[in-house]
């Protein structure tokens, strides 16, 4: 039986942590592993959390760093991401969303971004964090967040536009 505080941590942040992890790793199974690892790390270091940032920002920082570590471990195993099989998942949205022709294009364009930019895109476009919150989470300056977000948006939008032109 989990501690109530730990359960709350999971219920409040598991979704966002998954999106950050999946945005970086492109593997749903690995992303789920990162969610668990992030929650264990957050739980174990909750006592040292000073509250300078919001809990959400702090958890997402752990999620980003844990995802980067997982990505490095995977690289160390000398396997290209495209060689890694996706673990079977019954509710893979990309498999469900046949109607969204641009989903594959967005995924491909997202994979082409650097890891920090991917996380910035997820935190801004999906989680709705402010530039300052993203900067706090990733420990980068606000202008860096804005610059990378602008480049990422252009890249992703160009991918979507190309797909729509081809239809």
């Amino acid at each position: 039986m989990l501690d109530r505080q730990l359960s709350e941590l999971i219920n409040e942040h598991a979704d966002a942590v998954f999106r950050v992890a999946y945005g970086i790793l492109h593997d749903r199974g690995l992303a789920e592993d990162v969610v668990q690892e992030t929650m264990v790390k957050a739980w174990e270091s909750l006592g040292s959390f000073r509250g300078d940032a919001s809990t959400r920002t702090w958890v997402l920082r752990i999620a980003h760093n844990t995802s980067i570590s997982a990505l490095r471990r995977r690289r160390d195993q000398a396997m290209a991401p495209e060689d890694l099989p996706e673990r079977a998942s019954s509710d893979d949205p990309s498999a469900r969303a046949d109607g969204m022709a641009n989903l594959a294009a967005v995924r491909h364009a997202l994979e082409g971004l650097d890891e920090v930019s991917r996380t910035i895109v997820v935190l801004r476009e999906v989680e709705g964090l402010t530039y300052q919150q993203i900067a706090d989470a990733l420990e980068v300056p606000v202008p860096t967040v804005k610059t990378r977000l602008l480049r990422a948006r252009r890249t992703l939008q160009a991918a979507v536009d190309r797909t729509e032109e081809e239809r």
Binding site: M1, L2, L6, S7, I10, N11, A14, D15, F18, R19, Y22, G23, R28, E32, V35, Q36, M39, V40, W43, I68, R72, S89, D91, P93, S94, A97, M100, N102, L103, V106, R107, L110, L113, D114, E115, V116, S117, V121, V122, E125, V126, V140, P141, P143, T144, K146, T147, R148, L149, L150, R151, R153, R154, L156, Q157, V160
Partner: protein, 112 residues
């Protein structure tokens, strides 16, 4: 002349030499461009949400995994403690230069 070690170089996938942290940029102009790009991007946010959608039961699966992980660590910690205690007991039994129970080492007579 020293070059940075590979581990000191950014590992974010950015091409070497590319200045992604261009602080010289006019922030007001950047904000205007961002706002413009946001308006033009249409359903990008919707697509990203669909692409990155977590499994419906992610909370329960995470809770189960975390529970297993914490119990595993707890059991490992207990095992290590017991192993350490066992080792301490063995070394205590086998060590022959222990002081006697009265705390006075052998060979030293109480002259008083």
């Amino acid at each position: 002349m020293s070059h940075p070690a590979p581990e000191d170089q950014p590992d974010d996938g950015s091409p070497p030499g590319e200045d992604l942290d261009d602080h010289a940029v006019d922030e007001a102009a950047l904000d205007a461009e961002l706002a413009e790009a946001e308006q033009a991007q249409g359903d990008l946010g919707v697509s990203l949400r669909a692409l990155l959608e977590p499994p419906g039961d992610i909370e329960q699966r995470t809770a189960d995994g975390v529970d297993r992980s914490l119990h595993g660590r707890s059991a490992l910690s207990l095992g290590m403690d017991l192993l350490g205690l066992g080792w301490l007991t063995i070394t205590t039994i086998l060590t022959d230069d222990l002081p006697p129970a009265d705390g006075v080492p052998e060979g030293i007579d109480d002259e008083d």
